[in-house]
């Protein structure tokens, strides 16, 4: 009985979310088409096995820590104003903090609308619209694989990269000669609690981390009637760490400046995607009062998907990421740490093969295998752990997902 209660307590958020989702799914199916209220949701559960790293858990064994549940609503207040909100429950083991989150909670103002132009302003908590998968990274059936390329979509940064509290502007322009243009600008900051901080900074960091205001811009272009789409994104973000009175770390400051370019080709059977990232990661203090490190990291991936038919899709992807582009093999990192941090913490490469099978329009299973080399994107990144994280490690995962 006590074990049952413990289980109930551990997964209470999941139970609450699932009950609400099932109840509302019945109501949603009865939705009248002209109804200003829309309700949607999803539930996904999988198993994941990691051999050679603490990517999901500290024990190398099969884990069920692959749960994603979400419920959202949209209510059209008038022709120009709409309210939207989504709550998600996520459990990814060490990948990010387990629990319930308010994913977005916003007011959407349709500021200007014409046949060519559309301008929307979103105020509140919004999801980042900038990268190819930033707004749908937790939506199991909408991302290409169970685990996204970690160089760009590092799970440890999920809660600080997924969106922010502030405002976002979306401007679209359609030109019959030159194609479709999207411009996004956002300014906001992420609320970071102590559990989120622990995922990135380790349990030895007793202080608090604060996300200062960040700015992001993205531009997308699809030529007229083209299967291709191209994008460019810029991010400037700053965090301050305030140490506690008894702390292994001192006050510090982290700055990220990310630049990405991406291209996607959407054919009838073949689909190709590529994203490249250059990231400037500046650290002042934190490890010691005079510590200063200014790294320029680089990463990118190439992904191909082949639709065998309307139900089966095969996916393959190769990704490389280097924490410091001038130290791609990590030897300087090892030297600087007097050999305590092995060179393979300076990079992380991932070769992946997988498939997805659609049983119906809203029921799907995804399965994939990753062959990893390197440990630059394993939490906590400030405290590399060579005892559990090997240079070569593997992950396989299967996840079943339903949405409405």
């Amino acid at each position: 009985m006590s074990m049952y209660l413990k289980l109930m307590n551990k997964y209470r958020h999941a139970f609450i979310c699932l009950s609400a989702l099932l109840t509302l799914s019945v109501q949603a199916s009865d939705d009248k088409s002209a109804n200003p209220l829309k309700i949607h949701g999803f539930v996904a559960q999988g198993v994941i096995d990691v051999d050679g790293s603490n990517f999901v858990s500290n024990e190398n064994k099969l884990s069920t820590e692959l749960t994603e549940i979400g419920l959202n609503t949209s209510y059209q207040l008038s022709d120009d104003f709409r309210f939207a909100a989504q709550a998600v429950y996520l459990n990814g083991g060490n990948r990010y903090n387990e629990g319930l989150r308010v994913d977005y909670f916003l007011l959407d103002w349709d500021a200007y609308s014409s046949e060519q132009w559309q301008a929307n302003l979103f105020v509140g908590r919004f999801k980042s619209p900038h990268w190819l998968h930033s707004s749908t990274r937790d939506i199991p059936f909408e991302r290409p694989s169970i685990i996204l390329p970690q160089g760009l979509y590092f799970d440890g940064f999920r809660d600080i990269a997924v969106g922010g509290d502030g405002a976002a502007l979306k401007l679209t322009y359609n030109n019959d000669e030159f194609g479709e243009f999207d411009f996004n600008f956002s300014r906001g900051k992420s609320p970071i609690n102590s559990e989120d901080a622990e995922v990135i900074l380790s349990k030895f960091a007793q202080g608090s981390i604060k996300h200062e205001l960040d700015s992001q811009i993205s531009v997308y272009w699809r030529p007229v009637f083209s299967q291709w789409r191209f994008g460019l994104t810029l991010l400037d973000s700053e965090f301050n760490y305030t140490s506690a009175s008894l702390d292994s770390y001192v006050n510090g400051e982290f700055e990220f400046q990310n630049y990405t370019i991406n291209a996607i080709y959407e054919g009838e059977q073949w689909e190709f995607t590529s994203e490249f990232l250059q990231t400037r990661f500046l650290t002042k203090g934190f490890y010691a009062p005079q510590f200063y490190q200014d790294n320029l990291g680089q990463g990118g991936y190439f992904q191909a998907r082949y639709k065998v038919d309307q139900t089966l899709t095969i996916i393959g992807r190769y990704e490389e990421f280097y924490a410091d582009k001038d130290d791609k093999k990590g030897h300087k990192l090892e030297e600087r740490s007097y050999g305590t941090v092995p060179n393979y913490f300076g990079f992380q490469n991932d070769a992946m093969l997988g498939f997805s099978y659609k049983f119906s329009n809203n029921l799907q299973i995804n399965a994939e295998h990753h062959w990893m080399k390197g440990a630059a994107r394993l939490n906590p990144i400030v405290l590399p752990n060579p005892q559990v994280n090997k240079e070569h490690w593997k992950v396989w995962a299967i996840q079943l997902m339903y949405w409405f």
């Binding site: 088409s33 002209a34 829309k38 949607h40 999803f42 979400g70 959202n72 949209s74 059209q76 022709d79 709409r82 939207a84 909100a85 989504q86 994913d103 977005y104 916003l106 959407d108 349709d110 609308s113 014409s114 046949e115 559309q118 929307n120 979103f122 919004f126 999801k127 619209p129 707004s135 749908t136 939506i139 059936f141 909408e142 979306k170 679209t172 359609n174 019959d176 479709e180 007229v224 009637f225 959407e266 054919g267 009838e268 639709k307 309307q310 329009n361």
Partner: protein, 132 residues
């Protein structure tokens, strides 16, 4: 022989685009239709909000409309709509179960747009001329 082939083939119709009579337009370009179905244009020129109705993604008429009229693959539209729905940045078209429901919804909803395979089966809606 030709006669045998003709009577042996299933009767197929072109896909026509229909709107509620409040939508103030008689013709539309393919590019504009793509904008409407990819939710990049959400209001008609007269300011009336557009309500988009669709059949399910695996419906053969929906697939024909996407590929032949919009020159898009159904999965591309699904992706756009899911992204809007689950990021809070917009709303997706309203799905209906069958063609009868779609026609009824277009007739009764201000600013609505939909598609139909056999135009002879419907009245009290605008049938748009599609320009390239």
């Amino acid at each position: 022989m030709l006669f045998v082939m003709l009577i042996g083939s299933p009767v197929t119709h072109a896909i026509d685009v229909i709107t509620n009579i409040t939508a103030d337009t008689a013709s539309i370009t393919t590019a504009q239709l793509r904008r409407i179905y990819s939710m990049r244009q959400v209001k008609w020129a007269n300011g009336v909000p557009i309500t988009v109705y669709v059949l399910s993604s695996n419906n053969i008429i929906h697939q024909k409309f996407c590929k032949e009229t919009l020159r898009l693959f159904p999965y591309q539209l699904d992706r756009i709509w899911n992204k809007l729905t689950f990021s809070g940045m917009g709303i997706a078209p309203t799905p209906v179960k069958n063609m009868e429901e779609l026609i009824k919804a277009v007739k009764s909803t201000t600013g609505a747009i939909g598609y139909i395979e056999n135009i002879n089966e419907v009245s009290d809606v605008n049938v748009l001329k599609i320009d390239e």
